[in-house]
Symmetry: C2
Subunit: 155 residues, 2 copies
């Protein structure tokens, strides 16, 4: 399917007062090429393998295919991933009729907090909470596949 | 899991008299790096996504993880694959207590026929049918991931 997403920096940690769900995420890449990424993810409860295509020119939409796998399978596939695993906490926050996913990164990406919102179409309106900062949709350096190779602390 | 396989060229087409199963296979690669390949496969009946690791030094064993996916999912993922799809017919042939998989390639790899046998351990004995030719176990140019980039007809 095609996903439409917008991505923003986060100004401060006040979003943490509004969280309704929280999970830790560890992920690595079997391919971090911009044309096709293959990601292995482990959350508190599940594993996933996810394939994403190249982004549209406006950076908004991207083919995404995902399959749930066991946590053990995810751990086994981590051994094959490229160097540079990503570790983060994901917070879910409901703002009116949308849900923001806010990722707080650790390790080599400590200090980076990114919010994403999934939309039904490219021009859909949504409420912007006060903690939402600069938009970085389509900026490749904020892709997780790039953060694994060129982490925030090295910028 | 770790797979132990030996791979051989095939001398002639007499193997076709002994086939008990036959399927067409189309496959592409989301990553054809030797350290980790990610393959998408479509057979007559099923789709698969398969991740393989680097081969052992003797070329015999390799980590392999595979998940069945729908035929539609495989078709969708083909759009993201690297250039150089592989098309082949796979014949299954029972020789005493082992099964050979014989792949007859088409397109840019026409003329190439390869037989593989899966073993339980590296030194396991097996009967060699008369059509079995030179062993090419561990020879990287016969990997499907390499045949997709450097096909047989260009050798």
């Amino acid at each position: 399917m095609i996903e439409i997403e917008r991505k923003f920096l986060v100004k401060n940690e006040t979003f943490k007062n509004e969280v309704f769900k929280k999970t830790t995420i560890k992920q690595g890449f079997l391919n971090s090429n911009k044309k096709r990424t293959v990601r292995v993810r482990l959350t508190d409860e599940q594993g996933f393998i996810t394939v994403k295509g190249i982004s549209s020119k406006d950076g908004l939409s991207r083919f995404e295919w995902e399959k749930e796998i066991s946590k053990n399978e995810a751990e086994a596939l981590f051994n094959l991933c490229e160097k540079g695993m990503i570790e983060k906490t994901r917070y879910l926050i409901k703002v009116e009729n949308h849900t923001f996913e806010v990722d707080e990164f650790y390790g080599e990406n400590e200090g980076l907090i990114i919010a994403e919102i999934e939309l039904n179409h490219a021009t859909e309106l949504f409420a912007k909470p006060i903690w939402l900062g600069e938009e970085v949709t389509g900026n490749i350096k904020y892709y997780n596949s790039q953060l694994s190779k060129h982490p925030f602390k090295t910028w």
